[in-house]
Symmetry: C2
């Protein structure tokens, strides 16, 4: 008995390798072939600067004999267990994401607090150079740790993570991100959590919400793996969750929990998952997501109450609301609204410029980062030094301001956070720029949003801080640390808003703190291009419902302005990474093409009862993941489409070895050998591979019945269906394969198979360059 090996094969009829179905299969290819295929379809996924193959996900519910048999055999109690488990998983995701969020917060506040306390102490002793050395040294150490984590251990932890989650929920698995081997995800989660903590504490202009979303999704993915077989921590019926559809639902919950934990915004989290992350949505999912974020909210509230007693070190001053501005009186009239409209317009433009620059920088960085781990770390070190120089150097430009008499907190402030940093100033004075730069990002935002403190920051200081943060934010995203985009945008935006508020002071009655909130809204609208979810997140962040009409107005204006110039920042990154994302709407030119037009390459089909050898050959020599099964006489009167089998299903069937000597239906024989549960999808690293099969030479000429596993209800379109409508069908139902059937009779029962790659503009415009300009 020999292992299956390609060298032992010598067949006349070798199926030619084609790129008809351009999905890339894992590992069974030799390396050069992989790269060739990837190149021909221009599907290069840049994940943490590594080129990775992408795989499509199966969100369709298969219907075949096995599944039906399986449903019949399920008892009510099992179905009840399944439902209960769904909710239990949501609970676990909520709990763990909430705990990670709290841990993250406590760690950042304590590490950054220690660093800032040290610096302040040295400053008070007028040891300015030592203070800088301590400050920059701490930053450098933290930054290098974060970079090392990302460069050596968890390369997928770098970046925001939201684009990858978005792509996953659209049906694209960017391989190393969410559903690989369990170990990999675990390493990844740890990489993200600690990388994010070190990165944020190192004073980078990065946020923790992108990594939190990523963490939440990874936790959900881990839970979806269903325990560990190694430690016998698994149940048989847990395997019901081992499919892409249930995993997608869990990851949606995880993404929502991430936002909820990062911003303490549970409703905002649900809406973020709905508006930005998810591509498909069901009302049942809305409810489950809501439950998950409710759990997060309860965990957070509990810990914050606990921490307010001082048990969490330097963390614990804030309440449940991160930036409470409800103290401000909201009064506005016509001139204020005009000012706000202007703020929205310019904010939208600056936001879309931010997207443009991030895109440019990211392209440069991805080239630099390709050169290896050392170069990655060097880049992080350089950016860290630059950030330290800015943070420590720029405050020297500011003049000392006398403390106001009515200051609510002590002034000057030697605390970790707080408004009035003394820096180099004499007693009774404070340095306003230092209060912004020498703080954590959260505290800086809190200071910028503070109300009833009009004169606290000088206009020139605000301007310097705005320019510095805007630029630092752009050049920081893309280096090898986990980096969220929300906080940099909110930071720059709220500074911009406060600046505008100061400029409009003579004609506007609105508090500058509220202007600051509106500025943040305009930047978020201009970069992220969300509406309802941003609105709710901002409300939950600031606890000021009375500002709602103005926030809505600003978001609408800035999103409109931004949409004139480019796409939202996450869509841009998804595109940059080369992930084959299915857009919600078909492109206008697709109306002028029909489904048949984009079907390419030869089609490989199987008979209802097929020779084992033929199947092995096809699996070996093509990268296809779906094969149509055609019933031919004597099993039917004329050739007709019986269904669709997946590569993964074929592997399981071959492994089960339900072969027969003659070409006949297997009947119940197959059902006795394998059950639906054997088809549970494992993490990518663990699934059955062609090399695992153990087919003996005499078995090559035997037959195997594909009927029990064939999905007998694949979605089909007629070849003359317009491509636009086919794309709508494909996207709305979350398909992986769509069968194209002939229109006229007397032809083979299937024309081809469409996959998501066939709907990509690059593919279509490569075939028909002229259609681009048709309406």
């Amino acid at each position: 008995m020999q292992k299956f090996d390609s060298s032992m094969m010598d067949f006349e009829e070798r199926v030619e390798i084609d790129d008809f179905e351009s999905e890339v299969m894992e590992r069974i290819y030799s390396k050069p072939l992989l790269i060739k295929r990837v190149n021909t379809t221009s599907q290069i996924a840049i994940v943490g600067a590594n080129v990775c193959p992408v795989e499509s996900l199966d969100y369709e519910v298969p219907e075949n004999e096995l599944v039906n048999e399986d449903w019949r055999s399920r008892r009510t109690v099992q179905i009840f267990q399944y439902i209960l488990l769904k909710w239990a998983f949501a609970l676990i995701i909520g709990l763990s994401t909430g705990l990670v969020g709290i841990f993250n917060n406590i760690a950042v506040e304590n590490i950054a607090g220690f660093k800032l306390l040290l610096t302040t102490e040295l400053m008070l002793k007028h040891k300015y150079y030592k203070a800088f050395a301590a400050y920059a040294g701490c930053n450098l150490g933290l930054a290098t740790s974060a970079a090392a984590l990302c460069a050596f251990i968890a390369p997928a932890a770098a970046g925001s993570g939201i684009p990858e989650v978005k792509a996953y929920l659209n049906g694209v698995d960017a391989y190393s991100i969410l559903a690989p081997s369990t170990l990999f995800v675990k390493v990844n989660v740890i990489g993200i959590i600690f990388g994010s903590i070190f990165g944020v504490a190192a004073g980078f202009v990065v946020g923790k919400e992108g990594p939190m979303v990523h963490t939440g999704s990874c936790i959900a993915s881990l839970i979806g793996q269903g325990g560990s077989r190694k430690y016998h921590l698994t149940w048989r019926w847990l395997r019901y969750f081992k499919n892409d559809r249930d995993r997608r639902d869990l990851i949606t919950c995880g993404a929502a929990a991430g936002v909820a934990a990062a911003f303490r915004a549970p409703v905002g989290g649900v809406l973020f998952a709905l508006e930005e992350a998810a591509s498909w949505w069901r009302s049942a999912l809305l409810w489950r997501t809501f439950f998950t974020t409710a759990v997060v909210a309860i965990v957070l509230r509990g810990f914050i109450q606990l921490c307010s007693t001082g048990t969490c070190g330097l963390f614990g001053q804030g309440g449940l609301i991160m930036y409470d501005i409800s103290a401000a009186k909201v009064v506005y009239s016509t001139p204020d609204i005009l000012a706000v409209i202007l703020l929205g317009v310019i904010g939208g433009i600056l936001g879309s410029l931010y997207n443009y620059l991030v895109d440019k920088v990211l392209r440069t960085y991805s080239i630099i980062n390709e050169r290896g781990a050392a170069v990655k770390i060097l880049l992080v070190i350089m950016i860290s030094l630059l950030t330290s120089i800015c943070s420590y150097g720029l405050p020297w430009l500011a003049t000392c301001i006398p403390c106001p008499a009515d200051a609510s907190t002590s002034c000057p402030n030697t605390d970790v956070s707080g408004n009035y940093k003394s820096f180099q100033c004499p007693p009774g004075h404070y340095n306003d720029l230092a209060s912004l730069f020498l703080n954590t990002n959260d505290d800086a935002i809190r200071n910028l949003l503070s109300t009833n403190t009009v004169k606290e920051f000088h206009i020139s200081s605000l301007f310097i801080f705005f320019v510095a943060v805007y630029c630092l934010g752009i050049i920081t995203y893309g280096i090898a640390i986990p980096s969220g985009l929300f906080i940099p945008v909110i930071l720059a935006g709220s500074c911009y808003g406060r600046l505008v508020g100061r400029l409009f002071e003579p004609i506007s009655k609105l508090d500058v703190g509220l202007f600051s909130l509106l500025g943040a809204a305009s930047f978020l609208g201009g970069t992220m291009r969300m509406t309802v979810s941003l609105c709710v997140i901002l409300l939950e962040l600031t606890n000021d419902l009375l500002m709602l009409p103005l926030v809505m107005l600003v978001l609408l204006i800035s999103k409109t302005m931004g949409d004139m110039f480019n796409k939202g920042v996450y869509d841009q990154i998804v595109k940059l990474k080369g992930l084959p994302y299915m857009e919600a709407h078909p492109e206008p030119y697709m109306k002028h093409l029909i489904a048949r037009d984009v079907v390419t390459g030869p089609l490989i089909t199987f008979s209802g009862v097929e020779k084992v050898g033929n199947i092995l050959l096809a699996l070996k020599n093509t990268g296809h993941n779906g094969f149509p099964v055609i019933d031919e006489p004597p099993f039917s009167d004329a050739p007709e489409l019986c269904g669709l089998v997946l590569r993964s299903q074929l592997l399981v069937l071959l492994k089960g070895k339900a072969f027969s000597k003659d070409r006949a239906l297997a009947g119940n024989k197959v059902l006795r050998k394998i059950s639906e549960l054997d088809f549970a999808k494992a993490g990518s690293g663990k699934g059955l591979k062609l090399e695992d099969l153990d087919i003996q030479e005499e078995e090559w000429d035997m037959y195997v019945d594909l009927h029990p596993i064939a999905n007998t209800s694949p979605y089909t379109v007629v070849e003359t269906m317009s491509l636009a409508k086919a794309a709508v069908l494909f996207r709305e139902l979350g398909l992986r394969h769509m069968c194209v059937v002939p229109k006229s009779q007397g032809r083979p029962p299937i024309v081809g198979i469409l996959t998501r790659h066939d709907f990509q503009p690059e593919h279509i415009l490569g075939l028909y360059p002229h259609v681009r300009f048709q309406q």
Copy 2:
């Protein structure tokens, strides 16, 4: 030249009338036939107690030569105009709904205020019988006016309106509701607005939010009609909006605007439209809905600011937040959470009991209401008297309570609203039940939600009020007045919550006002079964973000409890009205059937070039709205499916008279005679009817080419596709007709057509009663 008339026809081959496609067509049937058809398919729509036929809506984008030609001829400027107009419409919907909301509020507060002032004045003079006469008389007058409006002028204005809007957005036009003749809608809008004002002012336990949603949708529908041709207030390109798809989008915006205006909850409005009202959703729509509700919020805020100066009569005390409870300190620990969980469980059960009783009462009322307008009004009068007796009589059961020393408002209060009504009590005392009963519903809720006033209401008073309001709410819904369900549920729920709060006083630190909010949440969760939207609406109503975790918890518990017993109240009413609603998920037994199983009756198809006479016959003798077009030799090698034509398209084509003597393709001839714009869908009352055609006898034998109007890309399923997957396709893509094609070759190219009626459980279980019990 004679009008088309059935009497002049005498054909051998009369197509037998079937109920294969069980959609009911407007008016072309003789009355008995209509009723027969309606009965056979058990599709009786009870709309304001009138049996109405229902019509499906076309949400699919057609693709045929005419549309393509039309797109080619559209210039960029036209497309820009179209987009601009979309937003202008959203603006108009927002503005007008906001204005209606304000008008409604001002009218109710002034009318009810006058009534209450009059009663209080008489009470102060100890003229108790006169006071009752005045109170009950005012109520009766207002109630009768509202009932007369609904009974005689606008029968569709009765009830909540939300179920009808929900059904419309699912693709069912319940005929007299949203898209009938313009005049009808106008009358309806006025009926709803004034009916709602009178009804609410009459002291009924009804709300204004259902009617507001209905109003918003009707306004949107009116705007979608695109001006008035009679007064030349229309543009040619406005007709681009005359299709079901664009109208659906407008009505979604209208529904969101209605909630936003009723509760001053713009984000809640968007989420309501998303979670409860709409069946299909696109991110573009999210954005437009958000814009609409932002406009509503701005209009409301402007007027409320204006009214706070006292220019709106008795309206103007409240701020933008309706029930502000942010003054309460939110502190809770484990015993509170246990109390809250118990509150949620019982609240959920009471909520689902509410649904059950409403359903029972509604069934009784619909029988009563069928007897004519007089009986309808009589029923309203009886309920009004009962309400008056309860409101005036029950406060006598309460004992007078001495005024608290630290009362924030004057006590006893002779104002319109306010907490401490003196009623029959001596000076320095107040009657707590009167403060609840002798107030508008809004003020009663405000009193119940008031914080830091633990002892204000006696436990027995709360109990009496709760029982009275719970029962009155149930028996009031279904009488012939516009009546929302939100306010009765919130009223009963907040009273229940306060009662629970009082009972748990010894062990709980949570304010009774906050308990009251949670009680309202539990009732809403138990009846409406929404999650995120209710949560956001409650937040926007009460401005207390810190309560978010608890509100989420209560909503989750009460929804879970409710779902154990029955469906949400709106789904229940939709079912009761017999509207063929397409559920989001297929029933489990559908997996065991295939598409072919539910196709019934003979299929009527047309040739690509068909005799005019045949088309007229088919239109006359069947109720089908969609006809497959089959290309036959010589136009193709073998019979093949060319596309699908709609009844409305055929009528326009026949009206255009592009006939030819011989069986040949018409080419551009048709395009010169009619354009895509001629197919614009008018309001139902206005569309072309068969009787409007003017076909001469010699034209009966001529041919007409159907190719230019046939939708060449209809969605198809193979006959062996499982019914469950076909249902998913049908629902997700919002189809009206789905073609079933044969699997094997050598058969006619189409097996049948599926419509929404074929997916209804009644239809399927009628055919296959045994599948019900299969998993």
